[in-house]
């Protein structure tokens, strides 16, 4: 009989600056699938005036040796300018945006609004029987908010995945 032997895993946040060219996202996402790496979340948007450079934030998990390989394999791609492992680098800010639709009337509706206020979630759409709350924060804060809304008429959740940056004055 043969059994599989999984290794201990770590969660890492990587930022990748790339040429904003056709196929780059497929190249990066495909690298992860082809080599059996995990993607927990991935966000991407261009970050320069001329739309030539994009920044991708990837949250991944795996054994430390695999995380190191992911870093090296990403750097090997020609359109990749820079890869920063924020988890390795040290303290960093990681934020996510969520839209949370909650429907209800009466006390539940009031309670949803009250809790939203505590979480600094802002209503961005209102009807007499529903809200869409917008909130940003660390992923676990969003998790808590969504969990509380579940009893108060949660309809739909949309999340961006995290965007992250190293703390302090320097560019990472």
């Amino acid at each position: 009989m043969m059994h599989m032997h999984p290794e201990a895993e770590e969660r890492h946040v990587l930022t990748v600056t790339v040429d904003n060219e056709a196929g780059i996202l497929a190249k990066i996402a495909g690298l992860f699938t082809a080599r059996g790496y995990n993607i927990d979340s991935l966000t991407v948007a261009d970050i320069t005036d001329n739309h030539e450079v994009s920044r991708i934030t990837i949250v991944t998990h795996g054994p430390p040796s695999q995380i190191d390989q992911i870093h090296a394999q990403l750097e090997r791609l020609v359109p990749v300018h820079k890869v920063v492992d924020l988890t390795e680098l040290g303290p960093h800010v990681a934020r996510e945006l969520a839209l949370v639709k909650v429907a209800g009337v009466g006390e539940k509706r009031v309670e949803a609004l009250r809790i939203a206020d505590v979480f600094r979630a802002r209503p961005v759409d209102t009807t007499t029987e529903s809200f869409i709350f917008e909130m940003t924060g660390a992923p676990d804060k969003i998790d808590s908010f969504v969990a509380l809304m579940r009893d108060l008429g949660l309809v739909e959740v949309g999340r961006t995945g995290i965007v992250a940056m190293a703390r302090g004055p320097e560019e990472a």
Partner: protein, 580 residues
Amino acid sequence: MSEERSGANILVESLVRQGVEFVFGYPGGAVLPIYDALFGDERLRHILVRHEAGAGHAAEGYARSTGKPGVVLVTSGPGATNVVTAIADAFLDSIPLIVISGQVPTGLIGSDAFQEADTVGISRHCTKHNYLVKDPADLAAVVDEAFQIATTGRPGPVLIDIPKDVQIASAAWSDAPIQRRQRYAPRTAGSAQEIAQAVEMIAAAKAPVFYTGGGVINAGPRASELLRALQAKTGAPVTSTLMGLGAFPADHADWLGMLGMHGTYEANLAMNQSDLIICVGARFDDRVTGRLDAFAPNSKKIHIDIDRSSINKIVRVDLPIVGDCASVLDQILTEWGSRKGQDLTAWKARVDTWREKKSLSFPANADAIMPQLAIQRLYELTKDRDPVISTEVGQHQMWAAQHFPFFSPNKWLTSGGLGTMGYGLPAAIGAQCGNPDSLVIDIAGDASIQMNIQELGTATQYRLPVKVFILNNEWMGMVRQWQELTYESRFSNSYSDSLPDFVKLAEAYGWKGIRIEDESQLDAGIQAMIDHPGPVIVDCLVHKESNCFPMIPSGASHVDMILYGDNVAGTMDDEAKALV
């Protein structure tokens, strides 16, 4: 001077500007404008293959034997998909290729048009980089960058997909040097600190070994010279991967032979027992390491590699140096100066005891030609011609690696990483194009040769005098061997039934065919092959059940090698079977 030219014309001019001599290709609807631009152009020689896979491997053979990039031209859809295996092969063996594929016109992309395939998507993970060019004005810069990417850093295949309308539309063309952003700049040299540490480690080692690979070949002939120079200073014995054969001369007293699954006993034991492994341009492939937890357990490891992702991928090393093999070896030599290393007498005496195993020896056979003997005779009779040898994949490939010695780089062309059957014949054709005066021999097996047998016609058409030396045992020998060793001799689908008459096949293509059936005919047959000015197939009937030894079975360590005479038939546990 600037003028308007068609995309196809700009492409051809760009290839000429890169010094391209040969284009290996096959026309089709989506590349007709490029073929028209090639028509009558004397500056580029187009070699018309019989199947696009042949074009890819021919370009690989050309590249491997000349050190220059190979260029492939194919049409869209099946033209491009047929060359994917060769692209993947070049990717794993780090061979510089430029593959130009036609594509359906931009307006039809994504519409499932005739002969449309998502070539950029399909080739994305087996190319070093690829492009879909949507504007002829971009072509010159794309080609320029593609050659830089293919040939610098860790070499590899780069694909340029060009829609048909982009080939026809015109753009400004200028002879002036190309202005483009320089975004690819691989690190080529080690830091002073790394070099100093490497020298310190080598000087302190009592049992060092050089473990060299294809990176030394890829770094150019100078890297081989520097390796020899550094070896002379340090005295450490040298082993090599399959891909690195020829970087170090096989008649040197400190040469250990190839290491790994079918490597010599002395090479594998030296690796296992060393206190320092100096890995130069190799990547700790599974064929080399065997069981990882037992791989060189007591040695420190220096790893010189141009590709950072090769380092610590399989085996953790003590000192990684990211850089070009030639540059880093040069740095180490300079830093070494007139230093003296440790006395290696005791270490070399141990190595000699392993050599005494004579692990490459094989039993004599009165009734059949032993395949190893056939290769030894092939070497003896061709050695004064300094031949270029290509192979297919399987037992014959390993026997060639074991029994055909090499003395200089770029003489040995084989599919190492991907293990592509059908590589050898087209690779020999490409090598013969690049080395018109050399004796080029494809050492083949009866099964592999059939995988790109159609390329016989290519050699005929261009009067390329390549030789194909088939070790014919009527089996897919390596599959048969594994089935004997691990599946209790259940030979599932590994018998080469219905083989063609290779002599008649040769003659049908205008080649000379020679059959060798008995050892008494061996030398004369080989000599007749060498003496014939045109292409020759030699169908050498060899002992049918010979196994390739020594062998490290899957799941075993370097110290558990199987040699000739060991009792090995049987089965394996599932853990071992699950390894490739």
